[in-house]
Symmetry: C2
Subunit: 170 residues, 2 copies
Amino acid sequence: MPEGSSPQMGQSLLFLTDEQLRKGIEAMFFAYRGFTADPDRILAEKSYGRAHHRAIHFIHRSPGTTVNNLLSILGVTKQSLNRVLRTLIEDGLVASTVGTRDKRERHLHLTQEGAALERELSDAQRDRMRAAYRAAGPAAVVGFRQVLEAMMDDETRHHYEAMKEKPNER
Amino acid sequence: MPEGSSPQMGQSLLFLTDEQLRKGIEAMFFAYRGFTADPDRILAEKSYGRAHHRAIHFIHRSPGTTVNNLLSILGVTKQSLNRVLRTLIEDGLVASTVGTRDKRERHLHLTQEGAALERELSDAQRDRMRAAYRAAGPAAVVGFRQVLEAMMDDETRHHYEAMKEKPNER
DNA sequence: CTTGGAATGTCAACAAAGCTGACGTATTGT
DNA sequence: ACAATACGTCAGCTTTGTTGACATTCCAAG
């Protein structure tokens, strides 16, 4: 019996067939390539990688964040983050300042130069996202975000939600 | 004039504000972690990586595909794919057979053992996708796919479309 | 029938970015 | 005083990507 055509299957459940799920999985895989393609090109010119982009993005989103906080958002080890962070600090894109209340902490900020690169990267990424949103329409965008949020791990979703309502002045 | 608050901006364009786009970008980043988390756990036990998963997935999807075809779908170099493919062949998960019409080509198939791993991986990934789909609902799923498709590079979308209507017997 | 080009494979070397484990230092809180 | 925390760093390893060079095999065109 061909899948997805079971007579006793409610009409409302047809979107949960293996076939539909498989398309979603492949769409996710292929779309992620497009998602990262434009920033990757810019980063390659400057000898940076995706890891630098992620650090820059979240430092921009949460100026003054600590290393530990960034660590849990990015989900990597401190050694891995440190390597990236060190080059960004050496290159003058990120400023690391000792905490005032707790001097063990380092607070991270983008310098002017860092903010400039952030803008270049996010402009490129937003351009593609905007084109996709425009092509798909507002209703599709709502669904897009709903599915993505439901796909996250609980801990990850917590980070996402925490940042959701923190608009960045620009 | 700050974007997103222009009085003459049509109501229908509010979903294209930088703020909305930023949320979409972060949702994409966080969701991709969840997307790969379950297969990654299974793969780690077996000393394989994501690259092995991708190869297995697309060999399953297109049995008998050539190395070159797989290369263009995955978007990596032949050296990189070859390393992964070699281990899969050595481990008896993938069979490589010389082409009949063109003996330069190798046709790739999953062995029984390879198909078993494929099933384990895709079951895990589908479980999460199914939960996300169920939570978001059918209308959201349509939008989800529309946005993802619009996000792909043209060449990538071509691969995606080519595989779209090729259901796999299971 | 020869030869050029295509498809494949392989060797070597390298880089990005993740990981573990160990250790040092400064600081904080108990 | 002492344990825990935050951070940085060294060393070493893994996966997965990259180039470049070169050999082999084979099809197809001249």
